[in-house]
Amino acid sequence: MATSEVKVLGTWSCPYVNRAQLALKLKSVDYEFIEDIPLKKSEILLKYNPVHKKIPVLVHGEKPVCESLIIVQYIDDAWPTGPSFFPSDAYERALSRFWADYIDTKWYPLVKVVRQSEDKEERRTLIEKLSEGLVLLEEVYIKCSKGKPYFGGEDIGYLDIILGSTLRWLQVTEIVLEIQLLDQNKTPQLAKWARSFCSGDATKDILPETTKLLELHWKIQDFIKAGYKL
């Protein structure tokens, strides 16, 4: 299919966008990346995602797909050649969906809140919750991987994409707060998986550089302090 038939509307620094990019790369699908304008809702964004007005949007032959978890599942369904992102067993698939939902609704939102929080007590509580979440995810990794490198086994799977895309912002958070969240001692297997995931061929050109994200973090903090709403 011609490159222009598949488009991704997004921005380099957004983990939800990185998910769509990773999924397309794993399926060897060429696409056009349309960099969205930060802080502005562009016309093209409003056209393809009028309900949420958010990136990423995958446009496949003029049909938009929104919401990163749905986009990754769509990519898996629409390009069935090559390994599926999901296990073949229905129960294991259910577990993948359950933990992806947990990551997005319970765990990852805390990463941003703790990074932007100025309240010591709040930070302490959030750090505790994040660490507990990572211990849970270590157990999930051990169960799903069954001794292989990824949650998906031999190949990168759905949970690898969903959690892996959050790792760079997690690193930025660790730098800003001067703490270790993904701790080698508490969650050794997950820490090892994170290193492999970030340095893998499929991911290293898509995941943003931590130093660039850190710069962006400080810019965003300045904006917030100046009273802009993000």
Binding site: V51, H60, K63, V65, C66, E67, L69, I70, I71, Q73, Y74, D77, A78, A90, Y91, R93, A94, R97, F98, D101, Y102, K106, L136
Partner: protein, 232 residues
């Protein structure tokens, strides 16, 4: 427990539990409903869903599955020989998932809020948002149903289940607020769809009785308010 026994931790008031029940009914799966006390939560619930501590929980042999939409998809995949719940086309599937997520993340929280909001201005704003959401869903229904009875076409599908489970509570809230939320004027197709959905054999026996639910809701609001306060 036999490896193929199916149990569902449930409650007659829960729309999320209803999703699981409808899916099991569509696939003609026999299951045991284990009523959950909720206030307080039972040991079985806390043990089988330690992460969220919520119903429904599907127990299939030694497998435990939580989160209503995850459960519905699991049921669809395990009992694959029965009528399909998710559309077979990848794009239609993405659309069904998108709107189910919209219902859960954006629309239903407003419906739930109606049970606890006291201030008139806030109530009015919430009612408006609920109605706007239903107008959007009416458009979605037109696109998905393509002239047939349900979002899923001739048969009930994923999006029918995702939205239809809330109908009884919606009717109760219309009584409480004295406002028509799902009406024939603004959303004629959805209005008809609601009647068709509620009378389907796979839905009707498990749909809560509206009078009974209305009676229940009187104490429920207080409990919800106390629960929300505790969470903060």
């Amino acid at each position: 427990m036999a490896s193929n026994e199916v149990k569902l931790l449930s409650s007659w008031i829960s729309p999320y539990v209803l999703r699981a029940k409808i899916a099991l009914n569509i696939k003609r799966v026999e299951f045991e409903s284990i009523p959950e006390t909720l206030f307080p939560k039972s040991d079985l619930l806390l043990k089988s869903n330690p992460v969220h501590k919520k119903i429904p929980v599907l127990i299939h042999g030694d497998r435990i599955i939580c989160e209503s939409l995850v459960i519905v998809q699991y049921i669809d995949e395990v009992w694959a020989s029965g009528p399909g719940i998710l559309p077979s086309d990848p794009y239609d599937r993405a659309i069904a998932r998108f709107w189910a997520a919209y219902i859960d993340d954006k629309w239903f929280p407003n419906v739930r809020a109606l049970l606890v909001i006291e201030e008139d201005e806030a109530k009015k704003a919430t009612l408006e948002q609920i109605t706007e959401g239903l107008v959007l869903l009416e458009e979605t229904f037109t696109k998905c149903s393509k002239g047939k009875k349900f979002f899923g076409g001739d048969n009930i599908g994923y999006l029918d289940i995702a939205l239809g489970c809330f109908l009884a509570w919606l009717r109760v809230l219309e009584r409480i607020t004295d406002v028509i939320l799902l009406g024939e004027t603004k959303t004629p197709l959805l209005f008809k769809w609601a009647l068709d959905f509620s009378s389907e054999p796979v839905v009707q026996p498990d749909m809560p009785d509206i009078d009974k639910l209305h009676e229940y809701s009187k104490g429920f609001s207080q409990r919800l308010k106390a629960f929300d306060k505790k969470k903060k």
